[in-house]
Amino acid sequence: MINVRFLILFSVVFLSVLLRFYRLEDVPAGFHQDEVSQAYNAFSIITSGHDRYGEYFPILFRSFGSYQPPVYTYLSGIPILVFGNTVFAARFLSALAGVGLVVLTYFIVTTLIESKYKYQIGVLSAFAVAISPWAIHFSRRVVEGNVGLFFFMLALYIFLLSLKKQKLFIFAALTLGISTHAYYSERVIAVLFLPLFLFFFRKHFLKYKKIVSVGLVIFAISQIPHIWILTSGAFARRFDQVSYFNNDPGDLPKILYITREFIRHFFIYISPKNLFADTGSELARVSPNLGVFYSWFFLPFVVGIYYLSKKIQGNARRFIWVLLPLFLVPASLTGDVFYPLRTLEYLWIVSLFVGIGILALLNFFKRKRYALLFLGFLTFYSLFSFYISYFILFQYETSEYVGASYIKLVDELNNYKDKHIVIDSGRDFAIGARIAYFNAYDPNKLAKSLRSQLKSDYYSSDVNLDEVYYIDNIEVRPTIWIKDRCAKDTILIGDTLAISEEQVKEHNLIKVFEVETIDMDVVLRGYATNPPSNCK
């Protein structure tokens, strides 16, 4: 019986590996600015000890007008060292964390829930996480939130184990502290979770005050880096960008406005509309025709709520219900209409309900064979729909928003090493970082040029975006026609907005190459300059 159980779990984990690692290099297409920022910084840290601005072992990584939490960047150095400066290496950690989450789900559920069906619930919850669109999507990009989720869940698991082996509380507190440096949501969730967990199991932990105190001190020490930059403006920069706290409250008193917005956004994430239907295909969502969950998950989700309330006894039920609203606090503090990346813990809990509901539905049918066959059919159909939506439609429809053509450009530029290259960066801040990453450009040289362009302290609420990248013979900056048209042996590169047909004629430019999108439309063109005789 135990062998069958682990065989099924192994199959689920294998499926999750397949869904997360298959064609990781090129699906999703392109390399988003946040991805390449993490990737180059990881490369820079592992080779030189500083980020691309020359800051040694930063607490937060300055990046394109904001800051990125550090854990993903520090850990990503290892796959980059092993696999080289590739998209695969940059995304490896997120994919691995995604698989880790599936495994952790099984162990968390079987530890938390006291029921004769706990192993089945564990496997089915892991299965729900393995195939859910949200879990796959955020595992296939450089998403620090996915690693944050993994560390938080790991901490949760160790906390649950500490109910039997008390010394593990210290490791759990340390892991929880690490999670707060992995993503912004965990900063809020961890600080709320820890006292809640202690209060929930207070009868147990009051007997081990020494161990609990050590754990709390360890957690507090892990927050010192945050306290260090608390007043710099960098700590709260991202929150300032996305929250509604500084919005005009209109006729309402500020406190009422914030209360209303908090509750409104809280219910946005609870609404089945946003969980089980296609909410649109913007970058932070999943992909065309898909929501964060498959539509058919709605039934097991509702049944799961029923089953949890009636069949699962003891602390587990109450604990899960307490965690659910807690996990929504970070997203409810922000003003976006629906931003799943900030609610990964909550989506995990919904997956747990789905797993419980699938079990309840399977038990409802007397002929389990047919029920399992039907589940198999639904799984196959869901994964087929996911494949079409994510591996085909999403590829084509979003590749240009994430600089896919600039990755092709990197190869093309190898043919022009003897020329001076100017790439227009008007609509994409990350072009220079992409070229630096794929060329493994010397971090010391890059830091020297970028550091001098900072208009504020490294940690600041004012983070300028206007940066020029100098990478050997390549400059990445907005085109300056008055200067660039007169440059000799120079190739100007840009899209049709940067270099229009009229400008080509006006400045007598000569086309030397084109770069196409993945559906063969020309997106970028390289033009050799042809300086007129009246150039000074």
Binding site: I263, F267, S295, F298, Y306, K310
Partner: protein, 207 residues
């Protein structure tokens, strides 16, 4: 069972959403108030008459909703949708080759999938709690906790009439344009949930 009509009607009248309905269509507004009362009665009463009347009135509501609020785009594509299908035709042909390039697959992806996607979006469009509770209005925030408690009660103590009501409203909303009549169909359930939630909360406090 002692039917508390005054508090029940009070809760229904306090849901500000109904006033928007009255403003657009007073007949529908009146039917929804009566339906809310009938659903409340069918939940608490063992008598089968309220249950029968609930579904008769629901049938009437569905017919009126479909007549006035049918989603005309469900089986017809806009220009943008046609363009998207055209572009996706190329992507799919390149992406899955022979699996796509046959009559069955082309029918499935170009004709059936757009309809199923729109139907699915319509189905869930009405399950937007912000709209159902009209959370833009400050006063409505008072009903959020009772609503959550009420929904939990409805799920953990399911009644056949409520499940059937939900299923009929849910399926009907798939055919309705997003934003109005689909939401109206769920209003009696929302009112019942809020009342139930308040009832449970008061009972808990009195304990």
């Amino acid at each position: 069972m002692n039917f508390k009509f005054v508090p029940v009607l009070g809760v229904f009248a306090a849901n500000l959403f109904i006033y928007g309905v009255f403003g657009k269509d007073p007949v529908i507004g009146l039917i929804l108030m009566v339906e809310s009362l009938l659903l409340y009665l069918s939940f608490f009463s063992k008598n089968s008459l309220p249950k029968t009347l609930v579904f008769l009135l629901l049938a009437l509501l569905v017919i009126i909703s479909v007549k006035k609020g049918f989603d005309g785009n469900l089986f017809k594509n806009t220009f943008l949708e046609e363009y998207t299908i055209f572009k996706r035709h190329e992507y799919l042909a390149q992406g899955i080759g022979k699996i796509y390039r046959n009559r069955v697959a082309i029918f499935y992806f170009n004709e059936l999938t757009p309809i199923l996607s729109k139907f699915s979006r319509n189905l869930f469009a009405s399950l937007d709690i912000n709209y159902l509770l009209n959370l833009e209005n400050i006063f409505s925030l008072l009903f959020t906790l009772p609503f959550v408690v009420g929904i939990y009660s409805l799920i953990s103590e399911p009644k056949r009439a409520v499940i059937l009501y939900f299923l009929v409203a849910f399926l009907a909303s798939g055919f309705l344009a997003q934003g109005s009549y689909g939401l109206y169909l769920f209003l009696p359930l929302v009112n019942l949930a809020v009342y139930l939630g308040l009832d449970r909360m008061i009972a808990f406090v009195r304990r």
